[in-house]
Amino acid sequence: MNILSKDCVGCRACELACSFHHKGVFNPEVSSIKSEFLSDIFEITVLAQTDGIRFGCDGCKGEDEKLCVKYCNFPVRNVIRELLLNI
């Protein structure tokens, strides 16, 4: 799943929170979510299935809320929330 957004700022807090959920460490390489800057817009990708060292998104099973949404401090959080509705 991926979306393009101008409301993301590329801080990667979502990736950090995601890696912390999966492994209890900060390591964006294993995150289910990633944000990449494409010149003047961001592409946000969420993996539904595990791919290599990247974990598939489990909707933050066991957490009170989805951590990528919780730690996003920008308007794109609403877009991410919607993107994850079906997970």
Partner: protein
Amino acid sequence: MHKTHCGYTGEMLYIDLNSRVIERRSTEKYVDWIGGLGVGVKILYDELKPWITAYDPGNVLVIGTGPLNGTLAPASGRICVHSKSPVTNGVASSNAGGFFAPELKYAGYDHIVIKGKASVPVYLWINDGYVQIREAGHLWGKTTWETDDAIKSELNGPKIQTMSIGPAGENLVRGACIMVNKNRALGRCGLGAVMGSKNLKAIAVRGTGAVNVADRQGFMEAADKARSSYDKSEVIEKFKRLSSICAVPGKIKFGGMPYKNFQDMSIPKEMADAFEPEMNIKRHRVIQTACFACPIGCSPHYYIKSGPYAGLKTEGTQFESLADFGCKLGISDFTFCIKATSFCNQYGIDVDPAAEVVAWVMECYEKGLISERDLDGLKPEWGDAGVAIELMRKMVFKEGVGAVLSEGVARAADLMGEKTKYYAMHIKGQDLYEPLRFSIGWSLGTCVSTRGGGHTTGAPVCEINTNIDRDLAKEKYGVDTFDKPLAYQGKPKLVKYYEMLNRLASSLGMCIYAVDWYDIILPGFNEMAEMYNAATGRNLDVKDLQDAALRMLNIERAFNYIHAGFERKDDYPPRRAMEEAVPSEPLKGFRLEKEKWDALLDEYYEMHGWDKKAGLPTRSTLVEMGLDYVADDLEKYKDNRRNY
């Protein structure tokens, strides 16, 4: 650094460019210096003898992260670089945002210490644990933007983070900076020239590892608490929306715009209109981005659609650029400020010395102290954007008069004639952007800064914050003049507070805009202590961390005396700030007063336990901090340091 390697990776790289030997060493012995800035100044102090000059191969370049870099601690993306400064001969201490610091941690290293000089141009490639010194002949002469692109292309790594120098650093322009990726500057102190002197074009890093924290639940609770403060701050709301140019109205209101090389402290209406933040953001910004883990996101990307700079697309251009290229040069054009900033970023020269030298040239030309014959035929009138860029280009390439100007305003004035010195606005040889006839705490913090002039290591910004939480401010600062910019009382205490806070933030890896420097309700000592302890597993209280920050300040102060001879006499503002009253409202008639400044310094030194006459730490102060060896050195080098 810590035995469990939580917060830290526990390893640093020692690289000798002469022998090309690369060593991995434990960082454990530096644990009491916290990280980033603290470890940087400690290594400088230990490694450098006073006779080593900034451009000697024996000088070191220390690139450092902190224990919070790479974590969810807010705004934890700052990287520190330290060296002996070619600008001041004292401490070079600089700090930039972006993503380099966390990438270095993910690659497995807390610090990189670089010594020696490569026989040919090289760059470093750090790919997880693997380290390589690569030839960089094909990159020499390229701009920082071209270098960043070329390295990512040849290493096939779009996620690689770089720091590089441009032609200014290669040509040993004294005010050369290091650029992180393309638009984050390790600006002042001439660090780019140090890299150039080592034939080191760039450092590239890619890391896929992890940063651990000791107490997972405790760390997330501490990070949550710190992160919860940003949405409550009106100052941050404006900053998020408009970047640091949101400061324009406040600076105009209080008289903090250094017009025409600081002749006045207010600007004409047409310039105020041209720099109005809302309009410029709406007109030129295409997107806003953030540094690593930052909940603020203050970096606008601009695209200029029309006019002489049409087609230019770049990130950055903060308030400092408006003050430098707009106010100081008398150029009422926001797009010129974007253009000049991108020029500096590409060619690798810091905006402050670039602008100050041009402003000084314009003023000396106006006053007939420098003629067009001295300037390769150029006629630098106020407001002439074309001449400004041409002068900067000459500085970068040391072409014609550029060879003189590239030395920075203090040395250029020394070469151009006695009468021009009065108009050279610098402190300890460091070119100024900071207005001084403006607010007393800010001025004191700038003048006593161990970097030379500079507002990031102790100058408070609260004096002009009209929305400050007064009860909290009084409790934190212990003085009640925190929002009275022209009051002298209480300001040393305010400066000491931020000397500690900003050093701690820079040692942990946090941005000073994201701590209580920028708004008192943002994370302060308590919150930083909570995150630090949870990350590292240590158990330091606020006093311990404040003491660590004061140790840093004292060792910087001693380094500056031993290496550059800086004493009390060097903590005074430039003569203009004391001898000329501000000509226009809102500060009409105001100037800094010598007698009051004398008393201010007395109080400041006394508060720090420093000798008032010399402005230096006393033996008892140093011994109390465990810095006996520094006390010994101060005695050893007293009177004879010039003999080296």
